[in-house]
């Protein structure tokens, strides 16, 4: 569990491909540098995950300014983009994730109360 501060940690090396552990959520956030949009997106994502998926998620942040070649795999155009690698199917959410409801829809986490 990473501390929730203003900055986020950037992975410079790829991890092993995520394994389909039981109910494990693998999320990947693509950003370009520490831009305001990127920071907002990271903060929003963190908040949603804590609320909805406590303890069963991992977030990998990829900075395309550092590793531009990593953008191709997930067909990244818009930044920031959140990619739900697991559970399948892959979902993509673009934008700063400020619209929580749409993020939940996008992640397939939306429960009708």
């Amino acid at each position: 569990m990473k501390p929730m501060n203003e900055k986020f940690e950037v992975k410079t090396k790829r991890k092993k491909p995520p394994k389909a552990e039981d109910n494990k959520w693998v999320l990947r956030l693509y950003v370009a540098g520490q831009s305001p949009k990127a920071l907002t997106a990271f903060a929003n994502l963190k908040k949603i995950c804590e609320e909805q998926l406590e303890g069963k998620y991992s977030i990998e942040v990829i900075d395309l300014l550092i590793n531009p070649q990593l953008g191709n795999e997930d067909q990244i155009l818009a930044l920031p983009t959140l990619v739900r690698k697991l559970p399948v199917p892959v979902r993509k959410i673009i934008g700063d994730l400020s619209d929580t409801e749409r993020v939940l829809v996008g992640l397939d986490l939306f429960h009708v109360d």
Binding site: Y30, Q69, L77, K92, S98
Partner: protein, 578 residues
């Protein structure tokens, strides 16, 4: 001074040659270097190919690597699609000369939540450019983004930024766009890319399609403004810059044989000028193709290369038919001196024909081009277009010092001199073949309607197809008009008989004259004789009269004497009359 130089160098736009056949001529050097160019057109008009060829030629000919960012086709599809055009993209990618990047957006996978930008695209493109040191970029078709992303405001702002960014990067870019209803592109990309706009078009008229290209706009450069036909074939893209090359072609004084000795004789005994345009026109079945075949054979015998476009017969049919009049074209075709291009005129549009002709001529590099016949083109197109096309072909061939022979079918209703396609003014030597119908026979006549720059014969000749090819005979021209065939033979016999009669007549007259002379001479002799007899008579009379006079004188003397003496008178009498 330095400042002026600087200004000048700024004033002339740097251009990046595309290497696409003909395109660089229209644009006087290619696309604006370091700037984006919009290539728009409807589906299937060749936008992607234009882009690919721009990159492939760029890297192979000008050593400028390129990035192809595809928003539609995957890399594999793309490689496969252009392989048919002879581009080995895989090899170029391996040698880091071309980079492909397929950008795929699936609308259903994407959820938009709040603010974003397209920095990801910039990074990808920038990475691809830097990885191979690209100088050229193609974005095909960036408008797909509009289907994948909902927030148009962001998208438009980002596109504007993208094109500015491309300019800053200094890459020569092609952005393709689908043609819209009233606008050049569906999403109005022309708003952002305004330096150079090229429109591709794929039009179908009368069921034949023609591809055309037009430079809509080119800031800071002269460019051809017309619509130019272009061609996509196994060697890629080729644009035809020819509208008219002007009338500046060099001329040759060399003469080449028409393949028919008698015809050569009609043309100062030497034949056509090299590089001239010959038209053989006539009604159906008068032997136009035979004349063309003669010309082709003669050229091949000289070792020249002949390109024969046949629009009505297949090559093998043509060769078979020509064999029947003793012209064997097959060996020449085998030896590669004679090449046939057989297509139905309706197979392509006019421009396409022009393009095909260009390509074929450039590839085969012939000395002689034969088009048989030219007026089948009219089927689907208006006369004007055909004329302009033929004019371009003629100009093109003349520019290359190629002797052209066209045949043209005239319908029997229209005036013979009006060649259907109205290209008579383009023609240097015009041979007219015509039917002469007489006495239930149909014979062929031929004459030289015009032949620029030579003293041609004004005679009509009878045109006979024999086992040994075409023969030209003098026709009988008499009081009853032009006679050919059996009528000519009959007339000749008739004439011979007449001649004989005349001869006999003369003979008879001569004899008559002789007789008259004899009569005259006889008469003269008779008169002579008569005169002689009369003369002698007269002389006798005269003598007698003189005697009488003398006797009278004597008598007088005697009388005088007798008056003196009678004896003396007697003596005198005895003395005078012994």
């Amino acid at each position: 001074m330095k400042k002026a130089e600087h200004l000048l160098s700024q004033a002339t736009l740097q251009k990046s040659p595309t290497g696409i056949q003909g395109f660089d001529e229209i644009t006087a050097g290619g696309l604006p270097a370091g700037r984006p160019t919009l290539v728009c057109g409807s589906a299937g008009c060749g936008k992607t190919l234009f882009g690919i060829e721009f990159l492939v030629r760029g890297t192979t000919l000008y050593n400028e690597p390129g990035v192809f960012m595809s928003f539609e086709e995957t890399n594999e599809e793309l490689i496969k699609n252009v392989a048919s055009l002879g581009f080995d993209l895989e090899d170029l990618i391996k040698h880091k000369k071309i980079a492909l990047d397929h950008v795929h957006i699936e609308r259903s996978e994407i959820e938009e939540t709040g603010e974003y930008d397209l920095e990801g695209l910039f990074i990808r493109l920038g990475y691809a450019i830097d990885s191979i040191g690209a100088k050229r970029v193609v974005l095909d078709t960036i408008e797909s983004l509009f289907a994948g992303l909902l927030n148009q405001m962001i998208l438009r702002a980002e596109l504007r930024r993208l094109f500015r960014w491309l300019k800053e990067k200094g890459v020569t870019a092609i952005i393709t766009g689908e043609r819209g209803e009233d606008t050049l592109t569906r999403q109005g990309l022309e708003e952002y890319v305004s330096d150079c706009v090229i429109m591709l078009d794929h039009r179908v008229t009368e069921q034949t399609s023609t591809r055309r290209l037009r430079v809509v706009k080119y800031r800071g450069s002269l460019h051809g403004t017309n619509e130019y036909p272009f061609l996509i074939d196994e060697t890629g893209f080729s644009v035809l810059p020819v509208t008219s090359l002007g009338l500046e072609h060099k001329v040759s004084n060399e003469r080449i044989s028409s393949g028919i000795t008698e015809l050569d004789k009609m043309l100062e005994g030497k034949g056509y000028f090299r590089g001239s345009t010959v038209l053989v026109s006539g009604t159906a079945g008068v032997g136009k193709t035979s004349m063309a075949a003669h010309f082709a054979e003669a050229a091949c015998k000289r070792g020249e290369r002949v390109l024969y476009f046949c629009f009505e017969e297949s090559p093998s049919q043509l060769m078979r038919n020509m064999r029947s009049i003793g012209i064997n074209l097959e060996p020449w075709a085998h030896r590669g001196l004679l090449q046939f291009q057989a297509t139905r005129p309706t197979f392509y549009g006019l421009e396409m024909h022009l393009a095909v002709t260009h390509k074929a001529v450039n590839a085969f590099n012939p000395e002689i081009v034969i088009m048989d016949p030219i007026n089948t083109f009219i089927l689907g197109d208006t006369e004007n277009e055909v004329k302009s096309m033929l004019m371009r072909i003629v100009d093109f061939l003349k520019g290359n010092q190629i002797t052209a022979l066209f045949t043209s079918l005239t319908s029997s209703e229209s005036a013979l001199e009006s060649s259907d396609v109205g290209i008579s003014s383009l023609i240097d030597t015009w041979l007219l073949l015509r039917d002469i119908e007489l006495n239930g026979e149909r014979n062929r006549g031929m004459y030289v309607l015009k032949s620029r720059g030579m003293a041609n014969s004004n005679q009509i000749r009878e045109f006979i197809l024999t086992d040994n090819g075409v023969k030209l005979r003098d026709v009988y021209v008499g009081a009853s008009g032009v006679l050919t065939g059996s009528a000519r033979i009959a007339q000749e016999a008739h004439e011979n008989a007449g001649l004989l009669r005349q001869k006999q007549d003369i003979e008879r007259k001569r004899r008559e004259l002789e007789r008259k002379r004899k009569v005259m001479e006889a008469r003269v002799a008779a008169l002579h004789a008569e005169f002689k007899s009369q003369e002698s008579e007269a002389l006798k009379n005269l003598e007698a009269e003189q005697e009488i006079i003398r006797l009278q004188k004597m008598d007088k003397i005697e009388m005088a004497a007798s008056r003196k003496s009678v004896t003396e008178k007697r003596k005198t009498k005895k003395h005078t009359k012994p």
